[in-house]
Amino acid sequence: MALTREQLAQRVAQEFQDGFYVNLGIGIPTLAANYIPNGMQVMLQSENGLLGMGQFPLDEEVDADLINAGKQTVTMVDGASLFSSAESFAMIRGGHVDLTVLGAFEVDCQGNIASYMIPGKLIKGMGGAMDLVAGADNIIVTMMHASKHGQSKLLSECTLPLTGKGCIKRVLTDLALMDIEGGKFVLRERAPGVSVEEIQTLTEGELVIPDHVPEMTF
């Protein structure tokens, strides 16, 4: 079975390490904050100028001056800090954020990512995504493996305008976890009940299949 949104978030959270500063993109990546293991300290960075983002506020705690990068009202944890957008992106570009998780439309086996623009259709802008993919060393892309019509989104070459070039090394889809090494996708884990063949069929870019590909565990 393909992973649900919650399972994707859970699998992302398995990449967290104690003491990590993490930037979570809008959507599924944000959900990963719900699965930080007990006893582990992870500090969430929100690129609009907050390090130490907490949970959503209670109704009476809502503060229009305290939002996350998705423009949602949030709270701060003890030890949080606030700063300007320039400072925020200095952290990001300077490589101080330990892990970045964000979504994409397409990724290719050269590590290119397209996530912000579908020409002629959707024009919203890249927000902070270009800075995040250029600045972070440790990035996980969360995405659907294929379109509803079975068209692969893991390509030999991205077809959409790029968000970043040669910067992606790890991709988590609803079907598989893959690393990108030497111009190839390398299959690391598969979603429970999903066969290697199914993943192969839905991966357009070159896929390396190791002898043993374990199922994800939650």
């Binding site: 001056d65 939002i67 902070g128």
Partner: protein, 233 residues
């Protein structure tokens, strides 16, 4: 106004000198920390042909979205322009020119503009449409593109507290682009929730020194929320 006293008493005075076809740098992230009354004053003045640099373009009927209604914006420099139907319509019809700029690059362009740095290299956008036509250079084996600084004829911004000398404090994530926007304006106008007497702000806790600020005006703010998300007790 006398000496270092930056406080003005009307929005008309706050934006005196703003003319058609000028460049305006605006603070704010989404609807958070936007100079909402200064935007309304630009709408009232009917200034046209503006180039505006701001992370977002407001939403329909709010923030900079208000200036789209009478087609006052000629060009928008922003990182994210979603959630704004009028914006999309004007962009698609070609009435509105849009320069999509990565968020961190936009912040740094403003910072550089205010700090006398004409341009800087960044890896952000290399190999993407953002990097097309820009000078590139390799440092330590990595590709960077040259991005030029941004300066405005005016900067409009929102802060939390000011003293009469224009020393500023921001509140929570309403700080965002405001400090850099202010430094990058030839004439920088800041609207605030509270004005205190000189000496009342602890110099150690001033976020932006008044040297960057030309005019301060006391406002009242709606502080609209784009995504009100709450948890239950």
């Amino acid at each position: 106004m006398a000496g270092f006293d930056k406080v003005v008493s009307s929005y008309e005075e706050a934006l005196d000198g703003l003319e058609d076809n000028m460049t305006v740098i605006a603070g704010g992230f989404g609807l958070c920390g936007i100079p909402e009354n200064l935007i309304k004053e630009i709408k009232r003045k009917g200034t046209k042909g503006l180039t505006i640099a701001s992370n977002n373009a407001g939403v329909d009927g709010k923030g900079l979205g208000l200036l789209l209604e009478d087609k006052q914006i000629k060009k928008m420099i922003a990182s994210y322009v979603g959630e704004n139907a009028l914006f999309e319509a004007q962009m698609m019809s070609g009435e509105l020119e849009v320069e999509l700029t990565p968020q961190g690059t936009l912040a740094e362009k403003m910072r550089a503009g205010g700090a006398g740095i004409p341009a800087f290299y960044t890896a952000t956008g290399y190999g993407t449409p953002v990097g097309e036509g820009k000078e590139t250079r390799v440092f330590d084996g990595r590709h960077y593109i040259l991005e030029e600084a941004l300066k405005g004829d005016f900067a409009i911004a929102k802060a939390w507290k000011a003293d009469r000398f224009g020393n500023l404090m921001f509140r929570k994530t309403a700080r965002n682009f405001n400090p850099m926007a202010i430094t990058a304006g030839k004439i920088s106008v800041v609207e605030v929730e509270e004005i205190v007497e000189v000496g009342e702000l602890d110099p150690d806790e001033i976020h932006l020194p008044g040297i960057y600020v030309n005019r301060v005006i006391l406002g009242t703010f709606a502080k609209d929320i784009e995504q009100r998300t709450v948890r239950s007790a």
